[in-house]
């Protein structure tokens, strides 16, 4: 079922681009490359590793491994409208209804045989405890070997070295399973791709900060977290390049992501992954544009190809979800300033202790720089309890309030 889905998606986008090259948009190229990952995961021909969110996907690519964080599958199942039966399967197997539906859907899919059997699994302790638990459960379910990367909470010389040592151990673990040593040349090539993509993405995000922004509620939705899967490959560079070129052209021609952008919004943490009308309502009724997602940022320095493990470790530690809440809030405040944000939306994904547990402090922190936060009560994966009417009312009230106040960034 999923293989067919990804095959159709890849073939459909490629056919469309062939038929009408003018229809090429950065989002389409991004979707195509992401769909290709899905096709490889489900193709049955490549070595596959299920991973945690902060695994070094570029390093794994250099070792010939198709790797993906499991939450990606949860998001896919939700976006295709198929997720309910897998959530029900997991709940019947005893997984509590109060836990994260990204994880429950994946566990349900695994129990129903819809997750490809991996060659091995690589868990990461960041961003969340639930993610780590699901990896342990999957390892037991598939009877496959599990490697755990403990991502330290803070960046110190000692903590970076600890993670770098673990990543080296991970390379040995992978080599032991593939029977192939890591090629230094392939690693250098992967790091070069990563650094190039990073450099271009810095430009992309900088252009998205423009007022009005070339970004909108869809163009860069989920981008920062998912593009990590492409790092280390030419696809990451290609996708980033298409975005940069497109945004550059839009800025030159004075085209914005939505017409008459009036309200600039920041989306915190996860997008709602199933089909819903909220973005449409914001854009068409209130000229409110989501100009950035929390993870659409580069928080790490270029990786030194001569000493890549240190750079890979620093990158994993640097993600905003890691460490103390104060660090995350500081990052959000900086994003609000850089993007001249009028208001932020936090979906407070039900079951996410890592994210929604910080909601009170995030509201307070953004409030300190004059940015109000709308905290929703929504499950970003499970559409069964989606209260569309209530959410619309709250979004409307929020945007009306924003419309009647001046930007916190006006001089």
């Amino acid at each position: 079922m999923m293989k067919q889905y990804f095959d159709d998606l890849v073939n459909g986008i490629e056919a469309k681009l062939k038929e009408d090259p003018g229809s090429m948009s950065p989002r389409k190229i991004y979707a195509l490359e992401v769909a290709k990952i899905g096709r490889r995961l489900y193709g049955g021909e490549e070595r596959v590793a299920w991973c945690g969110v902060t695994a070094p996907f570029d390093l794994l690519a250099a070792m010939g491994i198709t790797s993906c964080f499991v939450e990606f599958i949860g998001a896919m199942l939700a976006s295709t409208g198929m997720v309910s039966e897998f959530l029900a399967e997991a709940e019947q197997a005893g997984f509590a209804g109060d836990t994260c539906a990204y994880h429950k859907s994946v566990l349900g899919a695994a129990r129903k045989g819809l997750m490809p059997v991996p060659d091995f699994l690589i868990a990461t302790s960041c961003p969340c405890t639930g993610g780590l638990a699901v990896m342990e459960t999957l390892a037991r379910h598939f009877q496959k070997d599990l490697f755990v990367l403990n991502i330290p909470q803070e960046e110190t010389q000692q903590s970076v070295q600890y993670l770098a040592d673990q990543i080296r151990d991970m390379v040995n673990f992978v080599s032991n399973h593939t029977g192939e040593a890591l090629s230094e040349d392939r690693l250098r090539e992967a790091i070069a791709h990563t650094n190039k993509a990073r450099e271009i993405m810095v430009d992309v995000y900088k252009m998205a900060m423009n007022v009005p922004s070339p970004a909108n509620g869809r163009l860069l939705g989920n981008f920062g977290i998912v593009v990590a899967l492409l790092l280390g490959t030419k696809a990451a560079v290609d996708v980033a390049t298409v975005y940069r070129d497109s945004f550059k052209e839009m800025l030159e021609k004075g085209i914005s992501g939505i017409p008459d952008e009036r309200i600039r919004l920041l989306w915190i943490q996860n997008r709602i992954q199933f089909k819903n009308p909220l973005i449409d309502i914001l854009e068409t009724q209130y000229n409110a544009s989501i100009v950035s997602d929390e993870l659409n940022d580069i928080t790490w320095d270029p990786i030194d190809p001569d000493d890549p493990y240190i750079g890979l470790a620093r990158r994993a530690i640097s993600i905003p979800f890691n460490g103390q809440g104060s660090r995350r809030i500081k990052h959000l405040q900086q994003m609000a300033k850089d993007y001249k944000i009028d208001g932020a939306i936090n979906p407070c994904h039900w079951g996410c202790r890592q994210g929604s547990g910080a909601r009170g402090l995030i509201s307070k922190g953004l409030g300190e720089v004059g940015v109000p936060v709308l905290n929703l009560e929504v499950d970003c994966i499970d559409s069964r309890n989606f209260a569309e009417g209530q959410l619309k009312t709250r979004l409307e009230a929020f945007t009306e309030m924003l419309d009647h106040r001046s930007s916190p960034w006006e001089a």
């Binding site: 997984f95 836990t99 405890t129 809440g325």
Partner: protein
């Protein structure tokens, strides 16, 4: 140090190396989620966070804490605990706060890293107290801590044999006191309790059952379980025996490494695991129940506790392959819903008869 000697340093997790806190001249004080103050932590955290951290934060919000509590040590044990640490620093900005980074696995590199964290703890506590901590002091505190652990183990054996007066409730009262009093006071109390009970005859008071779970500090919980016809032959909670596991201290030069290795490889909370044996928690629960002669297993988890909730299905699946029935309960650190749970426990015990 004299003026600091009686100050308390709070903690909330069974992985906290309280012997080092004691060595620094502080009294380690477990901030238990037991309080009558109103529920209000949800406005800072989220209502879907575990009741353990919410009730602890409620205590901070209402200042339902000892006056001499001047600092907190949080373990990076789970998402909820990290968020509690964030909130604590906002609610009580005057407190010293330290977060120890606790790996989820106990391999070679993890032990080395956590040993450095313990060293950092030692330096931090020394800075808080104004006095350096000598290795000898830590060794002495470890020795006392181990005596407490030995005593708790003895009393737990008395409980399993049915000879502990006051039974499970009394044991939990003693453990709660041992996690909040100076080591010397705890030892005096526990020694007396052992003397008072050691000549009691062994008795079979009910169906032998093994309990496991995360946080359940309320002594009344254990008597309510026993009132349903259960004899608790062993238990494994963060707030009970798992709090006291003996620590090694054979070489003062490497004591942080020794303590680190033991903490990371002691009988684990669900958040710590062996990647070479995924789901080992399920096998451990069965093995312990069998070794204690339990006829049934009762698991009690807090609502919204991801480490446990995610792994209970593995326990359930594994237990199905044995002849030991399992009952899983979910609670909120209080006995507010115990009426419903009593019915389920009674039915479970009836089935075991």
């Amino acid at each position: 140090m004299t003026d600091m000697k009686k100050q308390r340093i709070g903690f909330t997790c069974a992985y906290t190396p309280i012997a080092i806190v004691d060595a620094a001249g502080f009294v380690p004080y477990r901030v238990l989620p037991v309080t009558d103050v109103p529920d209000q932590a949800g406005r800072i955290l989220h209502d879907n966070l575990c009741p353990h951290v919410k009730r602890v934060l409620d205590r901070a919000l209402e200042n339902d804490l000892p006056e001499d509590l001047t600092g907190m040590i949080f373990m990076n044990s789970c998402d909820a605990m990290r968020r509690l640490a964030d909130a604590w620093m906002t609610v009580r900005p005057e407190d010293h706060v330290m977060i120890l980074d606790l790996p989820t696995t106990g391999g070679r590199t993890d032990i080395a890293f956590f040993a450095k964290e313990l060293e950092r703890l030692s330096h931090t506590l020394a800075a808080w107290s104004g006095n350096p901590i000598a290795a000898d002091q830590i060794a002495r505190s470890v020795e006392q801590y181990n005596q407490i652990a030995d005593n708790i183990r003895t009393l737990n054996e008395f409980l399993a044999q049915g000879k502990l007066k006051g039974s499970g409730k009394r044991l939990q009262e003693l453990i709660n006191q041992a996690t909040s009093a100076p080591f010397a006071d705890s030892l005096t109390l526990l020694d007396a309790e052992i003397r008072n009970n050691q000549l009691n005859p062994a008795r079979q008071n009910g169906i032998p059952v093994f309990l496991f779970g995360n946080v359940m500090p309320d002594p009344d919980f254990f008597s309510l379980i026993e009132d349903c016809g259960v004899q608790i032959v062993g238990n494994d909670f963060c707030t009970s025996t798992r709090m006291f596991e003996n620590l090694p201290c054979t070489d003062k030069e490497t004591l942080f490494t020794e303590i680190s290795g033991q903490l990371l490889n002691k009988p684990p909370c669900a958040r710590t695991f062996d990647p070479a044996r995924p789901g080992k928690i399920a096998d451990d629960v069965i093995q312990r129940a069998k070794s204690l002669g339990a006829q049934g297993i009762i698991g009690h988890s807090l609502k919204f506790c991801d480490p446990y909730l995610a792994r209970l299905p593995m326990v359930r699946d594994a237990v199905q392959g044995t002849d030991i029935p399992l009952l899983l309960l979910e609670g909120d650190c209080t006995l507010r819903s115990f009426g419903q749970q009593r019915t389920r426990i009674e039915a479970f015990v009836e089935m075991l008869r």
